[in-house]
């Protein structure tokens, strides 16, 4: 029966079985043909790129992995063991990079706060998260729990913010700035479009002033000049000042991004809201802002990423972020001169965080894309 089928050359119209596509137009070969060798220019570029990769990759792999040292007590030992990167430096100082100068016995609190933060972020960002409504309520009290865990008091050993540093500091500045600058930015953007002159010009003045001054200057003012304006003896926490400045700075940029979104919402939408008898705030909340924010997502995430990376500037006011910890560590005679390792390590950390934010924004854009 099957043998007869193989030799059959003639088919009734409409009965021909589906044949697999020819080898060259499917799977990896098709992909390679279409993407790498589709035109003479592409062929040349592909060959050049392959040549560069061939030149660069083996050396990089050798330096970072195969020739690298992972366990050693100091740099001389690293050198004696192998010729590549001395990752032992990072391994030995892993805690310093993560927690800064936070007391060793209390570090579990930072870890716990970070785990809770992850839970909150997942609950807020992922709609199908189990138990979401409860977790969202938890997110509202999370900032207070986190502050209690990190700062201590009420039964926990108090830890001064001077001891904060490393990735922990970056995450604190980044998350606080991101969480506060968005609502503040929305208010500023709405205020800028307000019909009430006082509100309008206050918002315009604030936005233009903050945008006109570099962040580093604001931080400097926060760290040193503020002592002159406050009554003598006032002790205003340095980290708190930084958080306020970073938030204000980001919210000014955020306001402009959101204003772009607001202006893209057609006037008819607002008129329709008016026609339905909605007052200002319900109209904004239900009709204008959802559309405006959706349009602004790329710009908003852009500002978030910028803010997150700007946190390395805190070194000018004596707070040691991962980069600062790295630079200070390089001055230890045990490890002097390993700057490539430090910078690469910090770069990888920032890349992972920022890339995750960028991917989430793409996901959000796709999800909210309603086709008009």
């Amino acid at each position: 029966m099957s043998g007869a089928k193989e030799v059959k050359q003639h088919y009734e119209p409409g009965t021909h079985p589906d044949l697999p596509p020819p080898l060259g137009s499917t799977g990896p070969i098709k992909w390679i043909r279409e993407n790498l060798f589709s035109s003479p220019t592409n062929i040349v570029l592909t060959i050049l790129a392959a040549f560069f990769l061939y030149k660069i990759v083996p050396g990089m792999v050798a330096w970072t992995i195969t020739d690298a040292t992972f366990i050693a007590a100091d740099r001389n030992e690293c050198r004696a063991l192998n010729s590549g990167a001395c990752w032992a430096f990072i391994a030995q100082r892993w805690h310093l990079f993560t927690f800064g100068f936070y007391p060793e016995a209390e570090r579990w609190r930072v870890v716990l706060a970070f785990i809770l933060l992850c839970v909150v972020i997942v609950a807020l960002l992922w709609e199908n998260c189990p138990g979401r409504s409860l977790l969202v309520k938890f997110a509202l009290i999370f900032p207070f729990i986190a502050a209690w865990l990190l700062l201590g008091g009420f039964g926990l050993e108090p830890v001064s913010t001077d001891k904060f540093g490393g990735f922990m500091l970056t995450v604190i500045i980044g998350v606080t700035g991101i969480a506060l600058s968005l609502p503040l930015g929305i208010l500023l953007a709405l205020g800028r479009q307000s019909n009430l002159p006082i509100i309008k010009y206050a918002c315009v003045g604030f936005i233009e002033f903050i945008r006109g001054v570099p962040l580093i200057t604001l931080l400097f003012v926060a760290s040193t000049m503020l002592s002159y304006f406050l009554p003598p003896g006032t002790n205003f926490n340095l980290l708190l000042r930084v958080l306020i400045m970073v938030t204000l700075f980001a919210s000014a940029y955020m306001a402009e991004v959101i204003r772009g979104g607001l202006q893209a919402v057609p006037n008819g939408q607002i008129e329709a809201a008016d026609a339905m008898g909605l007052k200002y705030w319900p109209a904004m909340r239900l009709i204008v802002l959802p559309q405006a924010l959706k349009i602004s997502i790329p710009g908003i995430v852009n500002t978030f990423i910028g803010l997150y990376k700007d946190s390395v500037l805190v070194i000018v006011i004596g707070l040691l972020d991962p980069l600062g910890i790295g630079q200070a560590s390089l001055a230890d005679t045990k490890w002097q001169g390993l700057s490539t390792e430090v910078y690469l390590f910090v770069a990888i950390f920032f890349f992972i965080s920022c890339y995750a934010m960028a991917r989430y924004s793409l996901y959000l854009e796709r999800k909210l894309h309603t086709g008009h």
Binding site: R79, G318, T333
Partner: protein, 340 residues
């Protein structure tokens, strides 16, 4: 940014006197229970965090000695890391109580920036390092060389002076920190690395092939490094001054970290030691402290020789000789004023 820092510094200088006239730093420190000590963001041997995150180094040990004298515990220090540019603003704004940040004492810093310098704790001088392959034997051969230089330091100014006096030209490559200068130098972005001689030695020691680099014979400047406090609080300046003097005097008198408790327990035969350790006279109360102030300062890290040997001496990776920093009785110029 430069402008803003200048502005900040100007306002700092302007208001410092007015603000600090009534502020007694000693009371603030005691109330806080912690000494805010301005250090660098990392200079090998002088201040750097170790693997556990504890600050260590020559400058750091002086901070601890002051904290021990004032608060009774050398651990009660909050280190405020600063770059060369921000250090004085931080001190003047009150964010720091005292500064030990390998800082050169100069007239303009003393008078114009309104600092009061403590006795010199390290005599340094600026030198040059270049790759051996460059074939230079003297700094005078450096015409047209590119030089990595930390901004906001006296090194920067000395360099300009030296090249101008000798009628040769150079191309400055400004960098922010010592680590950055080192990376740039090794990466070939500048031909010459210049900083204080102590920094050159420690930097070269960390290179893969130290023998490939020469330290040129010229020392082009005087760099008396010392601590500093703000103008306007003489009692606090006295505390800093006499703690440094006590540490230096302790070496001269043979008081060490190990024997200080025993020597200070009761008055001995040497009246100088008795006065230093508070078993004779009433010197502590003159600076607002108790009689055991110097004893605690010495017990925190040891005398000058011990601090030197532990952090930057010949047995460390930095390997500096005492040189000018030996006691006056050993051919150096360390000469502590007497406590009496």
């Amino acid at each position: 940014m430069k402008k803003s820092i200048k502005y900040a510094a100007a306002v700092a200088a302007f208001t410092a006197t007015a603000m600090n006239a009534q502020a007694a730093t000693l009371d603030d420190v005691k109330a806080r229970g912690e000494l805010n000590c301005v250090v660098s963001t990392g200079v090998a041997g002088f201040a750097a965090p170790d693997d556990k995150g504890n600050w260590a180094g020559f400058d750091v040990d002086f901070c601890r000695a002051v904290a021990a004298a004032v608060l009774g515990d050398g651990e009660k220090v909050n280190f405020v890391p600063t770059t060369g540019k921000t250090r004085f603003t931080v001190l003047n704004s009150g964010e720091g109580d005292i500064l030990f940040r390998n800082t050169t004492e100069t007239m303009s810093r003393d008078a114009d920036l309104k600092l009061t310098f403590l006795p010199v704790n390290y005599y340094d001088g600026q030198g040059f390092m270049a790759a051996k392959a460059l074939g230079v034997e003297s700094a005078k051969d450096l015409d047209g060389a590119s030089i990595c230089i930390q901004t906001g330091t006296t090194t920067e100014l000395n360099l300009a002076d030296y090249f101008r006096t000798n009628g040769i030209s150079y191309e400055p490559v400004p960098v922010e920190t010592n680590a950055e200068a080192q990376t740039n130098y090794l990466g070939g972005r500048c031909d010459v690395f210049t900083t204080d001689a102590s920094g050159l030695a420690s930097t070269r020691a960390s290179f893969e092939n130290p023998a490939d680099h020469v330290i040129l014979p010229e020392i082009i400047s005087k760099e008396p490094l010392g601590g500093a406090v703000r103008h306007g609080d003489d009692q606090w300046a006295d505390i800093g001054k006499w703690v440094v003097n006590a540490i230096i005097a302790a070496e001269e008198l043979g008081v060490t970290q190990a024997n200080v408790a025993e020597m200070g327990a009761e008055a001995g035969d040497n009246p100088s030691i008795n006065r230093l350790l508070g078993t004779e006279g009433d010197f502590g109360s003159m600076i607002g402290l108790d009689a055991q102030w110097a004893m605690r300062a010495i017990a925190a890290g040891g005398n000058y020789g011990e601090l030197f040997d532990r952090n930057i001496g010949p047995d460390t990776a930095i390997g500096l000789e005492r040189g000018l920093n030996a006691q006056w009785s050993d051919g150096g110029i360390l000469y502590a004023a007497p406590i009496r």
